[in-house]
Amino acid sequence: MALHIIVCIKSVVTKAPENGIIRSAETAEMNLFDRPALESAIALVEREGGTVTALSMGPKSCAFVLHEAIAMGADRGVLLSDPRLGDSDTLATSKALGAAIKKLEPYDIVLFGTRTYDSDTGQVGPQTAVSLDIPLVTGVSSLNYEKPLLRVERKVDGFREEYNLSLPAALTVHPASVKPRDIPLSGIEEAFEKKKIETWTLNDLSLDPKLVGKKGSPTEVLSMKKMTRERKCEFLEGTLEEQAEVLIERIKETGLIT
């Protein structure tokens, strides 16, 4: 049977909000770390046949990330959007995504980026896998379908690990594993003018609303502000040897070398 790959993508805020977090096409974009996951899915389906469904959760104004995923090569876009999902933390988000993925059954692989660049928790992929009760490998650098198994590779701490996974399975894809393709103009035209994004609310899922949103979230984001990093410039004096000595001391102080 042809593969069905679900890729979870997030629209991330690019501008620090002044009054609460508002996502719109002006202030948000597709999480850069999700692009390699999308690329891996599209490439695998090009090789093995099948379909790619892009799934996202957020306000309706975020549908554009799904259009963009379709422009890149995904076949279908599903947006999970319900005011009751507002203020969901990563756990509640994972439960909601898990419920949506169940509704998309049958599926073979669920892909995530390793993290997002607006909050960087890296939790949603693993938590969703737990909520679906399927195997998970994180930070995958390559994936091949060797029917009926999925063979994946993961490079970590100087080791290369290979896994065979039975399907369905979930993976988070390492950001440096593949170069996401550029989006052709014709893809954008087709995605935005001809393809409809399916929008689901909580009513479409078998999920207790108490498990999501503020009520279902054990953690709460209290504030989000842009951080400015203080940079210091210091001129070292003395002979080259003396400057090198001081430099080594300074680096040692940071703990980078011992």
Partner: protein, 383 residues
């Protein structure tokens, strides 16, 4: 900002910008210095549909609207004016006239390779003695049994050094004034088709601008675009569209100049503070940003009118006049903000300054545009 852009338009900007920042920006200085046409990038741009932006999908294009087209040109020009020029000329004054005036057979023959960027198009109107006075074309296309015998000396041909498909404006009737001009399509490689040396220009140096000469070139009759004597009309219609593209190019160059200047003003320290704290620099940045936004709105408006099927000729002339003049002022201020470094080739603003300058000259000088606009304004209020 630009609240009337659709999500599709924004997606176009994001994707073109990402490509240009990665593939074009890093080499823009080098290809300017070396006057090199970067085929390796052109090939990628072809695959992304930048050479057939408004061509229908069935002919190999991207099938987009004018607004998406100008955003694409603006973003390419933000990275490199020369490539912005290549793309706008190819799309607006080479591909578009064939789409608008070509027969089905001609479209099927020429458009797909042009739309995929496998062949590059050129618009050959200007001659040593026919610039602003386009009706002064001296090139001749003499009809005989087999087709046309064409003799032409075309100068300052954008894309000339790499063009495969050239729209040649030539006289089919020596006595009929502007009604005696026709357009024949000459393909590179035809005996008598000669590409001149690369022009040693002030700016747009990565675009292979050359002369193209046709010596007793035998062009088959089926290469006539439209009808005999309609060349002037084809030229005017192509330029109406082309001007929106040139205006978008000016906006892109000016955008790059503004960004570079604001970054520099934040970073450069004089008198113990960043120069952005000085009122005179702030005044320049404010004027640059305001003029740029005004120019951009005019360009988008002209494109929107075209998309809506409304009369856009005056809007496109105004957009081209204003955007090109604004880009010259903006890039001039960018050099000024950078001081001595702005005049150095170590910084990109001197390239923006040189590249912006020609937008006031080609596809109709500012003065010709003033004349055209004034004529229409006077007509509005004539008794």
């Amino acid at each position: 900002m630009n609240t009337f852009l659709s999500e599709k338009n924004r997606a176009v900007r994001r994707s073109v910008r990402a490509f240009c920042e990665r593939e074009i920006m890093p080499i823009a200085g080098e290809i300017d210095r070396e006057a090199r046409f970067p085929w390796e990038v052109i090939e990628m741009m072809g695959k992304l549909g930048y050479f057939g932006i408004q061509v229908p999908k069935k002919l190999g294009g991207s099938g987009m609207d004018s607004l998406s087209c100008v955003i694409t040109i603006e973003e390419i020009s933000r990275a490199c004016g020369s490539l912005g020029l290549c793309v706008t000329v190819h799309n607006s004054v080479a591909v578009y006239p064939i789409m608008a005036f070509g027969s089905e057979t001609q479209k099927k023959r020429w458009i797909p390779p042009l739309a995929r960027g496998e062949k590059i198009g050129a618009f050959c109107l200007t001659e040593p003695n026919a610039g602003s006075d386009a009706a002064g074309v001296e090139a001749t296309a003499i009809r005989n049994k087999k087709g046309y015998l064409v003799n032409a000396n075309k100068v300052f041909v954008t894309n000339g050094g790499v063009a495969d498909i050239c729209l040649i404006f030539a006289r089919t009737d020596p006595d009929a004034g502007r009604r005696g001009i026709s357009v024949v399509v000459a393909e590179r490689g035809t005996p008598g088709f000669v590409v001149g040396d690369l022009e040693d220009l002030c700016g747009m140096r990565a675009n292979p601008v050359t002369s193209i000469r046709l010596y007793d070139c035998k062009i088959p009759a089926e290469n006539l675009l439209g009808e005999e004597g309609t060349g002037f009309q084809i030229g005017i219609m192509a330029l109406d569209t082309g001007r929106i593209g040139i205006a978008a190019q000016a906006v892109g160059i000016a955008q790059a100049a503004l960004e570079e200047s604001a970054r520099y003003a934040n970073q450069r320290q004089q008198f113990g503070v960043s120069i952005g704290k000085h009122q005179s620099i702030q005044a320049m940045l404010a004027d640059m940003a305001t003029e740029l936004e005004a120019a951009r709105l005019m360009v988008y408006r002209a494109a929107l009118l075209r998309d809506q099927g409304k009369h856009f000729s005056r809007a496109s002339a105004m957009a081209k006049l204003y955007a090109s003049e604004a880009a010259s002022r903006i890039t001039d201020m960018a050099v000024q903000i950078h001081g001595g470094y702005g005049y150095s080739k170590s910084y990109p603003v001197e390239r923006y300054y040189r590249d912006a300058r020609v937008t006031r000259i080609y596809e109709g000088t500012s003065e010709i545009h003033q004349m055209v606009i004034a004529r229409e304004v006077l007509k509005d209020y004539a008794k």
